[in-house]
């Protein structure tokens, strides 16, 4: 039991990171119907931008600010120079998906090239604090709260702001949004900026877990997909729930009563993903609700 509780706590930590990443991915998918395979590498970019700040002597919470802005700008610039021109030429979603795979390779290996393959970290590891039922490091606790803040903030943005409502409208029916006089390209640009900021932030949280390395985002990406699909693709709220579930499931899979090697825990998450697609392709929250 004790072991299970600890594993659940660990699962919530990694699930929180997945959730922040998944919500960004979901926003882009909902609004643009694009599955962005480069999403993981934007997590990495955020983590390394912050690492650069830390290297210059900034405390992490200050280094995070330019990193988040950088992440937003990176996605915004790509919208201007890549995605928007491609949309205007009538590129299919499948072709956009393939482009995103190329983009992922480029971005990841540029990071490899610039920073090398060495694994780094923001700070030396801290010991776990005993919280009674389970123990977590201070970083773990920051991750959980940091993720919760971002998720609530995104939820409020979607529900309460005009641009958020417009994003949901676009996810619902792009043609009608255009016919209503909504400046679709502007809403899409905002979507990328917000997704970019969220992704960089998610990357920093991922790095806080301990390790910053060029493959970190790519390795997380399939888990993010699993979280998104489990929750119902295109549903931001579903993505949050699905991600936490994926995090917990993969940690619990290593429980000594099950005895799975730790290397295989991601496979368990992937299997859950495939089972969900088989039984309920629309995910847990279905697709009644856009974003």
């Amino acid at each position: 039991m004790e072991e299970a509780l600890q594993l659940i706590a660990n699962g919530v930590v990694i699930g929180s990171v997945i959730a922040v990443s998944a919500v960004g991915l979901s926003l882009v998918f909902g609004v643009l119907k694009l599955i962005n395979f480069a999403h993981g590498d934007f997590l990495t970019l955020g983590a390394f931008l912050a690492l650069t700040g830390v290297g210059l002597g900034l405390p992490l919470y200050l280094a995070a600010i330019p990193a988040i802005i950088g992440g937003a700008l990176a996605m915004g610039v790509l919208e201007k120079v890549l995605w928007k021109p491609m949309r205007e030429r009538g590129a299919s979603t499948v072709n956009l998906l393939i482009i995103s795979i190329g983009l992922a390779l480029v971005l990841r290996h540029v990071i490899f090239w610039v920073f090398g393959e060495r694994t780094r970290s923001y700070m030396p590891p801290s010991p776990r604090i005993d919280l009674g039922l389970f123990a977590l490091t201070p970083q773990d606790i920051i991750i959980i709260f940091g993720s919760a803040i971002a998720l609530v903030g995104t939820g409020l943005m979607l529900q309460k702001t005009r641009i958020g409502t417009a994003m949901r409208a676009l996810a619902d029916n792009r043609d009608l949004a255009e016919a209503s006089g909504i400046n679709v390209n502007r809403v899409i640009l905002y979507t990328w900026l917000i997704a970019g900021a969220l992704t960089a932030y998610g990357g920093i949280l991922l790095g806080l877990q301990g390790r910053v390395f060029p493959n970190m985002g790519w390795f997380l990406l399939l888990l993010v997909f699993a979280g998104v699909i489990l929750g119902g693709i295109g549903s931001a709220y579903g993505a949050m729930i699905g991600s936490l579930l994926i995090g917990v499931v993969q940690e619990l899979a290593t429980h000594s009563a099950i005895g799975l090697p730790a290397d295989l825990k991601t496979s368990v998450a992937f299997l859950v993903l495939i089972l969900v697609l088989l039984i309920r392709p629309q995910g847990i929250l279905g697709r009644k609700q856009a974003l």
Binding site: R162, D172, D175, E178, A179, S180, G181, I182, N183
Partner: protein
């Protein structure tokens, strides 16, 4: 150039299409004056919806001109036309299903959010049913209710012109009555209406003028009642004289 004789909208020799080289609308003329109610009828696939989409900048216009309020707006971006005073209710999928009624209306006024609060009052007076359901998701509403949401959304920016694409399609008879009644009312409030309808008899009977479209061209045009009584129109598009009960009167 300023607007002449209350001529709000004027399309000349319009050519519109989707696939290269195939014009679905192929040389259409349409006029709409202030306060008028004009119907477009014609067989399935005649290009009625395409004509409206061309006028509204949703499908590229390949030939001819569109003027609105005296200004050349051929191929103008849609949001520009919305800004200038056109509202549009598409034939299908004309609400945002996951948004509430209020949010749907808000999206109708995206270009000018300042008017939203005041406009709600007017709209809810015109469509009292929506006031009680302002928090309901549009996707959970019945066809008739959704059509009202769609109409209301298109009216949020106080347009001078409303394009309606088959507003009565798929509705129950009582809802058809309700929708036509509201359309007449909106028109009486001074909004000019250009309406595509399958329900040709009723549409023509309430219209100032009508156009009969076939294969992307004007086949007939004239005052609504005249078209209703024109034997050729009756034979070809109104299913023969026998079934008609609402000629002149």
């Amino acid at each position: 150039m300023a607007e002449r004789d209350g001529l709000l909208l004027e399309a000349r020799d319009l050519k519109v299409g989707y696939v290269p080289e195939v014009n679905i609308v192929n040389g259409c003329d349409v006029e709409l004056r202030r306060g008028e109610l004009v119907s477009i009828i014609g067989p399935n696939g005649a290009g009625k919806s395409t004509l409206i989409k061309g006028l509204f900048g949703l499908v590229p216009v390949r030939g001819g001109t569109v003027r609105f309020k005296g200004e050349d707006v051929t191929n103008a971006p849609t949001y520009r036309l919305v800004e200038m005073g056109i509202g549009y209710v598409p034939q299908t999928e004309n609400v945002f299903p996951s948004l509430t009624v209020e949010e749907n209306l808000e999206m109708g006024a995206f270009l000018n959010p300042k008017v939203i609060k005041d406009r709600y009052e007017v709209i809810f007076e015109w469509f009292p049913m929506l006031r009680d359901r302002r928090g309901q998701r549009a996707g959970t509403m019945s066809g008739g209710q959704r059509q009202l949401v769609a109409l209301a959304r298109a009216l949020m920016l106080e347009p001078d012109v409303l394009f309606l694409d088959e507003p009565s399609a798929g509705l129950s008879p009582s809802n058809v009555d309700l929708i036509f009644e509201r359309i007449r009312f909106i028109n009486s409030e001074g909004v000019a209406i250009l309406m595509v309808e399958q329900n040709a008899r009723r549409a023509l009977a309430m219209s100032d003028r009508g156009y009969v479209l076939e294969m992307g061209r004007n086949r007939f045009s004239g005052p609504g009642r005249e078209l209703l009584n024109d034997p050729k129109v009756v034979d070809l598009y109104l299913g023969g004289r026998a079934s008609g009960g609402e000629t002149a009167g």
